[in-house]
Amino acid sequence: MVTPETRNQNSTPRVLLQDRPCFPSGPVSASARQMQLVVENLACARGAAQILSGVVFSVAAGDALILRGPNGAGKTTLLRTLAGLTPPLEGHIRTAPEAIAYAGHADGLKASLTVAENLSFWARVFGADDISDAVDAFDLNDFLDRKAGELSAGQKRRLSLARLLVTRRPVWCLDEPTVSLDTANVARFAAAVQAHLAGGGSAVIATHIDLGLPGARTLDITPFVAKRIRADDPFGDEAFR
């Protein structure tokens, strides 16, 4: 969530942050570049349970950060917090307003609309009028007029990822983006991410596979997993860890 304090610092969209001293987990060269996303001492919750605490990282323009961690560690919770869907328990997420494009597990597609209609809708919501770049990037030309409900799981995923391009937002927060994609389309997706990075964007990606992004940093979130808050949690004992 963009805190009010952050909004005041960046009152106009797309204003990038001031350079700031880099954090221990940040790249050494980051201080020389524009930061697009700075996370300080972030604690995230899902429902009533605290999942992560003390998360610290920063992402500069052109950077990709790969989130790793076992199932249930809190990658999705972290990404939803970054996207502003869940307010952080403590800490700050410093980013320009409306900088983050979020893509979660669900595709967000309407089965009774065609591929072109689905994409055009999101383009219109985000104030873009041209979907051809997104269509080309994920090779959707062959089924533009088919209903999204008739697509295979991988084709739906490609359509859902194409939506990221029409948002024209600089920071992509992606949750398992390559699920149900074949090898060729994983490469296509990696190329789209690279083009986004080369264009001055950045990305935070939770994934278990190697996307082959040169220069991508990896952040294992296991050290940030919060201790169980509930004192009576039967599984909170060290023996269960």
Binding site: L85, D107, G108, S112
Partner: protein, 218 residues
Amino acid sequence: MIGLLLRDLNLAVRAGGGFGLGLAFFLIFASLVPFGVGPETGVLRVIAPGILWLGALFACLLSLDRIFQLDWEDGSLDLLATSPLPLEGVAAIKALAHWITTGLPLVALAPVLGLLLNLPGPAFVWLVGSLAVGTPALSAIGTFGAALTVGIKRGGLLLSLLVLPLYVPTLIFGALTVARGAAGVDAMTPLAMLAGITLATLATLPFAAAAALRVNLR
């Protein structure tokens, strides 16, 4: 915003969209009443205003759980919440789309059903007027209820329980408008009250619905 409205209308009229469900329910409900209470025109003319308003209310209720539930299930609601559209605007547009696909057809169909129920001649204007003024409140209140219950599996029952008490003022003044119109006395006062309720719900409930959505999306 316009894009969202057009998409919702588009989805409603396509296969499986649920458009016409409320309308068909209203039609069947009102045409079954004479079978239930008997065909005496004297009885029907007395109960017609209340029956027509009740039918419209239940018809609205039928499609409420679709307002946010489908978008929540397929992930669109997350994406809308992170989009440049304000969530309050999303809620208002959803209510408007629900009214266009449910309330507006009811307004158009009501005079026909009034004939079936032997509604007195002077009451027809008041019937159409009161439904046109009152059904937006049903959609706005229903959108708020749908926002409160989004994410609850089979939350339709809870939604009905939450929303029905809130529908009472609209029902009272709506049916009273038609009944006074049928009796040939001035019905402006209940109609003005009805308009007041509608305006108040339209002004406040999109904000309440957006707040409820924010909580439910966590």
